[in-house]
């Protein structure tokens, strides 16, 4: 397993920090991609931040009321080694499904 740390992104044009309002996940939780992780407030608005990746929460940084600067660590996720760093989603191997059936008279001429 590999650990990936996600820093607080710039949530607007040139915002430099955000205040944690409420964590929606806790260490040990398994999170899915795009699942809301935390609600933060900037000088412009309060927003929920979605998870950029599926994984298990290892650490979260900052409790309610704490300020975090853009670029500083926000959350650390544990992900399988072979998916660490991937952009996108590992495809699932599924049994083939079909709706179309073939019909042909294979006359040999």
């Amino acid at each position: 397993m590999a650990e990936i740390s996600f820093p607080l992104p710039d949530l607007g044009e040139g915002l430099i920090e955000a205040t944690v309002l409420e964590w929606l996940v806790a260490p040990g939780d398994q999170v899915e991609r795009n699942q809301p992780l935390v609600e933060v407030e900037t000088t412009k608005s309060a927003v929920e931040l979605p998870s950029p990746q599926a994984g298990k929460v290892v650490r979260i940084h900052g409790g309610p009321g704490d300020k975090i600067n853009v670029g500083e660590p926000l959350i650390v996720l544990e992900v399988p080694d072979n998916t660490a760093g991937i952009v996108g989603t590992v495809p699932k191997e599924e049994a083939p499904k079909r709706r179309v059936r073939l019909s042909a008279v294979l006359d040999e001429d």
């Binding site: 760093g85 991937i86 952009v87 996108g88 495809p91 083939p96 179309v100 059936r101 073939l102 042909a104």
Partner: protein, 353 residues
């Protein structure tokens, strides 16, 4: 095809002793192993790209190689593809065999100038005194729900450029052998890795690429499933899908041959002819857009050699003439099982006159 004047540039891999030669690996592991062996066998090889060094690549293909072979031979580059390929050209001139990576297909666009104007023609320009033994690895094609510029199929673009060779493996076994072979060529090879197939595991026979190959090179196309009624031609990730389709068609009594093209430049016209001469029907499947896609070239080669005996025009089942869509629409864009079956049905029911 140029002849390399570099010492060790075409080091044969016959020394690789592999006793129990078949093992189960993912394509990631197979590619990683091939690169590891290439680095060990040829001291002139270098691997570099974005995140290739310390991280081991976003897809883990170069995982552990920097620790084993040193940061002078496996290293990170700035986020500048034109620089990665420009440096490759210079290193090749200086006698190295660079194996650069562009992290995703769509990131090759900023380096098209270096690839087309320098890498592909330096050998011609220099009348053979500056061969370009460069193996450019490009994680390619769609299928992983990635954002824009992460799902492009550039084979027709590269295949159209004189001086480039283009190859795409369909499974871990092909990946291992084709990369090892490509990395010993004296010419530039675009190595298109089907990223949606990185994780699937399968048997890899490390000692033999093709059955009864007698140590021959992994050139040309390869029949991955034999059949009598119709030939499905595919490459990269579409080979696995065509094998699934062949299994389903067998339920309906249709016996399908799956030809894995492997080399997209040069295309193995003889293998196409041999297969379709037998089956008399052909469908070519690719992810890239239809218009001016490689399917047109394949269809023409088949028509040229099998016009007299073809039962129907060669059918194409491809992506659409639109930019590669976002993840939610991916399954509608990439040829799916039903679209391929429809293509087969159109060929089966075609009547002359």
């Amino acid at each position: 095809m140029s002849n390399s004047t570099l010492e060790g540039g075409a080091a044969a891999s016959t020394s690789a002793a592999t006793p129990a030669s078949t093992t189960v690996m993912s394509m990631q592991q197979a590619l990683n192993r091939a690169l590891d062996e290439v680095l060990a066998e040829n001291p002139r090889t270098l691997i570099f790209g974005e995140d290739c060094g310390r991280l081991g690549g976003v897809f883990r293909i170069t995982d552990g190689l920097q620790a084993k072979h040193g940061a002078q031979r496996v290293f990170d580059t700035p986020l500048a593809e034109s620089g990665i390929l420009g440096m490759s050209v210079g290193l090749a001139m200086a006698g190295f065999h660079p194996i650069p990576e562009v992290q995703f297909d769509g990131f090759a666009y900023p380096a098209v100038n270096q690839i087309v104007c320098q890498m592909a023609r330096m050998n011609y320009r220099s009348r053979g005194t500056m061969p370009m033994p460069i193996t450019l690895r490009v994680p390619s094609f769609g299928g992983i729900r990635a954002p824009e510029h992460h799902g492009e199929s550039l084979e027709a673009l590269f295949a159209h450029v004189p001086g480039l060779k283009v190859v795409s493996p369909s499974n871990p076994h092909e990946a291992y052998h084709l990369l090892k072979y490509a990395a010993t060529r004296p010419d530039p090879v675009i190595f298109m890795e089907p990223k949606s197939r990185y994780w699937q595991k399968d048997d890899v026979d490390l000692a033999h690429c093709d059955a009864n190959d007698d140590g021959a090179s992994p050139t040309g196309a390869k029949v991955q499933r034999e059949g009598r009624h119709l030939t499905l031609v595919a490459w990269g990730a579409m080979v696995a899908r065509c094998l699934q389709v062949a299994g389903l068609a067998a339920e309906d009594g249709i016996d399908i041959e799956v030809l894995d093209l492997r080399w997209l430049k040069p295309i193995d016209a003889e293998a196409l002819a041999a297969s379709v001469r037998k089956t008399r029907r052909a469908v070519v499947v690719h992810e890239a857009p239809l218009t001016s896609g490689l399917g047109a070239e394949v269809a023409q080669l088949i028509t040229q050699s099998c016009f007299d005996t073809l039962k129907a025009p060669v059918e194409r089942v491809t992506g659409f003439d639109v930019p590669y869509p976002s993840g939610d629409l991916e399954d509608e864009y990439i040829p799916n099982i039903d679209r391929i079956l429809f293509g087969i049905q159109r060929v089966l029911e075609y009547k002359r006159g």
